[in-house]
Symmetry: C2
Subunit: 575 residues, 2 copies
């Protein structure tokens, strides 16, 4: 695994520019630089060549006739932001995400492989990961070691020899997130062997241990985990830090924890090198409204984190954690010339963004579209009107039935009901359907909406189409329309389609620009809130209903799943 | 390159101990732990299994019948010390060094490969490096990319394909130190290609840039260097830090710079993660008198460095720099159980040392000898009485002659003399002889001693036998005795051997325990000081007389060498 991709030619060319014996491509003149290595703001010009910083200092001898000189007088240069834990498929795609966050100053991310692993054509997966890593946005990857919900194709998609091959791809820097941490904690042989293979490949292991306290952390760290992003209090963050973990402080659409977490940066202020910031896959509206890593840095500043430390947590610290500190995370010779021009250290949203040594964004807008590789076709169409969902499929049960009652947007608890004449008010029929209709898992949904004709959604971690509603006809209509769209979210009321959002890429992602997607997601939120939805984010609710590691009950491809017990309560039905 | 060598079996076994379901091998009870991750001192017990920490906390459920319980009440546990820049051949050997410093709390080092690269049997080199890495002291290696003096065998010993193979050995973590930094700065194609190969192997590049200021640092960093240990003022250290380098603060027998350097740790106090401490190959007497990394930490504390930061610079920071933070540098689950029991944070010299999960030293003494592999025979005998140095070889020149005048222990300047009847007082004849006598390089030596019969020394970076003196007969006798010893240091006066120190391993190293070697080196110092030597260390003076990158003049295997110009002034004579 390389710390930098500089070639011999790069090294010689950069040194020549630094010596002033060759012209720079770009010269940023007259500004101040946030030096994340020494923690200072210093006056300095920055010379760029071959997409990298060649020189930082006072000299101008590398300004030649072809050098573009950019006056940044009165401005502050900071390293481009680096998201250590990115989910580039929260309805947006790796490409639309990059297009949206690059103008906000985020230039690199270590990103989730879950969707490509499960849904991309296996023969094209490696190429897709490599291609996406060559965008003018630096994608590195975290490799999942297991699915996030019981999946029919899990054994094959997560076969150890397949994972081992993927693990050795250059841009794969870590495995994780290990959402099935109880297995690792307990010494599960298969997962432990996989983690050992990850360590043998020199990669990190990203944990996911919500609510896990000191004692259980010990066994997880002993078993190979090296970081965690699930602390929601300063005490949990400090426990993780003390246990030897790197800690990602999360602030996102779903959990805005930074005010609570910031305390750890004060306690460990002098030693904040093992803290990072992440938005952990926020939804499109959060990005459109607040930004991305810039939004998280802003929250850290508001929460009282030392400003230099806040920027380090978003630049140098993730780069160091992933062994990329010679490539990213600071403004110094040899580093990739990805940096942000700020008006002020207090405002992390950049005025201009330099990436790959070129000005790529100004005032929040890309100056040129991102040239993306063809990768979408690697995701075969999963949903199609090859079968016809029928209202009978969505008929309410009679007698004893189990409801998933939402405590908040994602956490459920079991609610037992006895139905004689349909569900009581505020309880919907919930089904998870195979893309081809061959199986159905059934439950009830409580605490989601007061009323709901039919809502279908293929954006689910469990890999099927979730359909919820009061009216079997509306539900069937929503499901049918969703199949026609090739996947997506569709709401039907009184026989009319009231909302539709196509997600044709794997039934999970929209190719639309992120701001347009955000507008649609906002619409969906308004639609559902008008029908009684009262949590933060309906898209997360639908997505995580099948996530096998969240308490208590889940509806998965195996049926109703007891996440605490790790077993099926009511199996799915074959059709 | 692995971050940790834990196997699947290790992971499962350690997790089981952490859960309290399997007994620990060792349990350190009742002490406090310096948590280098959070910067705190916390009360905690430490459970150890399979040579690693399995658990840190309050529970005792992993104490079983076979568990050795060590009461450390009232004591402080700190991570074993890690030297990021070690020269394990300053007359001592990797084994005698480990035996000497392990009881002082140093448990790991990234060590110089210069001597094995040049003088070990090439067919056995890899095995020697691997074997020495398996001592109960963790040797990692820095791979030299070139010699430190012009050597006849340099092209072959430092052939790119040979280096590339060695570079991929697991314990090789970095290349360097690049003493010929001006070549890299200037873009020398061969050296730049080598550095690119190092980067492609995911290794670091250790610099060596004494006196180099901001401007030239820029080109060096652009050309691939990632650290430096040659700062001698806080300003130089800060410049290096600001330029994106990791900075090793040095305090050794030759240069006691910490009082001056400590300032950088105050300026960059909140961001000290990129600072490290090193003794940089101190001589045996320094180690015997003051210790090793413990001595450097002590100096840092005396110089006012924040105590936690001082320990981090000797533990976590080097481990992080070399990608070994999951293996070393902290007391946390999964880490190697190499740690020190201190009476007080203010006294870094340990009362007891745990290494590999066992008590290995108490009160400064090993509790059992180190089991060393057979490695000495990999260094073929280089000096033997197969030829007879004759007094005529050491006859003083007549007419114009060039003297190397010592400014201090290692830096020389040119002194031009015209001799009619032998050298003036305080100037000796100096020769460098091929081990087999086939060539001789000649100069004069000034500022070394007032008088000196004959002194021969094979501990030279230039790979020959240096002989200095006033009396050709004494010089010849010293050279002859040195050949008989298989290499070493011999002083002859009035035809009598007055001092001899055999260095039979490559003519460079003594297999004697370090404290005995130190006594001999002290004797040599006293002998020479009585004859007018007034610098810190005569062994370093003799060693570095042929070091091609130190100003100004050097006597090398090619002849008198102008280090600034990089050329031979007076060639050697063939015999």
């Amino acid at each position: 695994m390389r710390r930098t991709t500089r070639t011999a030619e790069d090294l010689r060319a950069l040194a020549a520019v630094a010596r002033g014996e060759a012209p720079a491509d770009l010269y940023l003149a007259g500004g101040r630089v946030l030096n994340v290595y020494s923690g200072e703001v210093l006056e300095a010009n920055v010379a760029v060549a071959r997409g990298r910083v060649a020189y930082v200092g006072r000299r101008r001898t590398m300004v030649g006739e072809q050098t573009t000189v950019l006056d940044v007088t009165g401005r502050l240069l900071v390293p481009g932001y680096f998201d250590p834990h990115c989910h580039p498929g929260a309805m947006y795609t790796p490409v639309t995400l990059a297009e949206a966050v690059l103008p906000r100053g985020t230039v690199a991310a270590v990103a989730d492989t879950l969707f490509p692993l499960v849904y991309a054509d296996p023969a094209r997966l490696e190429q897709v990961l490599q291609d996406l890593s060559r965008l003018p946005f630096h994608y590195y990857w975290f490799l999942r070691l297991h699915a996030q919900a019981p999946l029919p194709q899990e054994a094959e998609r997560f076969a150890p020899d397949r994972l081992d091959r993927l693990l050795h791809l250059e841009p794969v820097r870590t495995a994780g997130e290990v959402t099935r941490w109880p297995l690792l904690h307990a010494g599960d042989p298969r997962l432990t062997e996989l983690v050992a293979a990850v360590l043998a490949a020199g990669r990190r292991v990203e944990g996911h241990a919500p609510g896990v306290g000191w004692e259980r952390l010990q066994a997880l760290v002993a078993a190979g985990v090296s970081s965690d992003h699930e602390a929601i209090t300063a005490e949990q963050a400090l426990d993780r830090l003390r246990a030897g973990l790197y800690v990602m402080l999360r602030h996102s659409s779903l959990r805005g924890d930074l005010p609570a977490l910031a305390g750890v940066a004060s306690v460990a202020r002098a030693f904040s090198g093992r803290l990072m910031l992440t938005p952990d896959g926020p939804d499109a509206t959060f990005i459109a409204d607040h930004g991305y890593m810039d939004a998280v840095i802003r929250q850290a500043l508001l929460a009282g984190v030392d400003p230099v430390a806040a920027y380090q947590m978003a630049t140098l610290n993730p780069a160091t954690y992933y062994g990329l500190d010679e490539e990213l995370g600071g403004i110094a010779p040899g580093r990739l010339a990805d940096l942000n021009v700020l008006v002020d250290l207090r405002d992390p949203t950049p005025e201009r963004v330099i990436a790959g040594g070129r000005l790529v964004a100004e005032e929040g807008r890309l100056t040129a579209p991102i040239e993306a590789p063809e990768w979408v076709s690697a995701f075969p169409r999963r949903y199609a009107p090859t079968w016809r969902p029928d209202p009978s499929l969505f008929a309410p049960p009679r007698g004893a039935a189990i409801a998933l009652h939402l405590q908040n947007a994602v956490i459920t608890r079991r609610r037992d009901l006895t139905l004689s004449d349909g569900p009581p008010p505020g309880v919907q029929v919930l089904t998870l359907l195979a893309p081809d209709g061959r199986w159905v898992a059934r439950a009830l949904l409580s605490g989601f909406a007061d009323r709901l004709g039919g809502l279908a959604c293929t954006y689910t971690v469990g890999g099927g189409m979730a359909v919820a509603g009061d009216d079997p006809h509306d539900m069937a209509a929503a499901a049918r329309r969703t199949l026609e769209l090739g996947g997506g979210v569709v709401a039907v009321e009184d026989g009319q389609v009231r909302f539709e959002l196509p997600l044709p890429i794997g039934g999970l992602m929209s190719p639309e620009p992120l701001h347009r997607l955000a507008a649609r997601v906002r619409e969906l939120g308004a639609f559902l809130r008008a029908r009684g939805y009262r949590h933060e984010d309906p898209t997360y609710t639908l997505f995580f209903l099948s996530f096998d590691s969240l308490p208590d009950l889940r509806l998965t491809a195996l049926g109703i799943w007891d996440a605490r017990a790790g077993r099926v309560l009511v199996p799915r039905e074959e059709r």
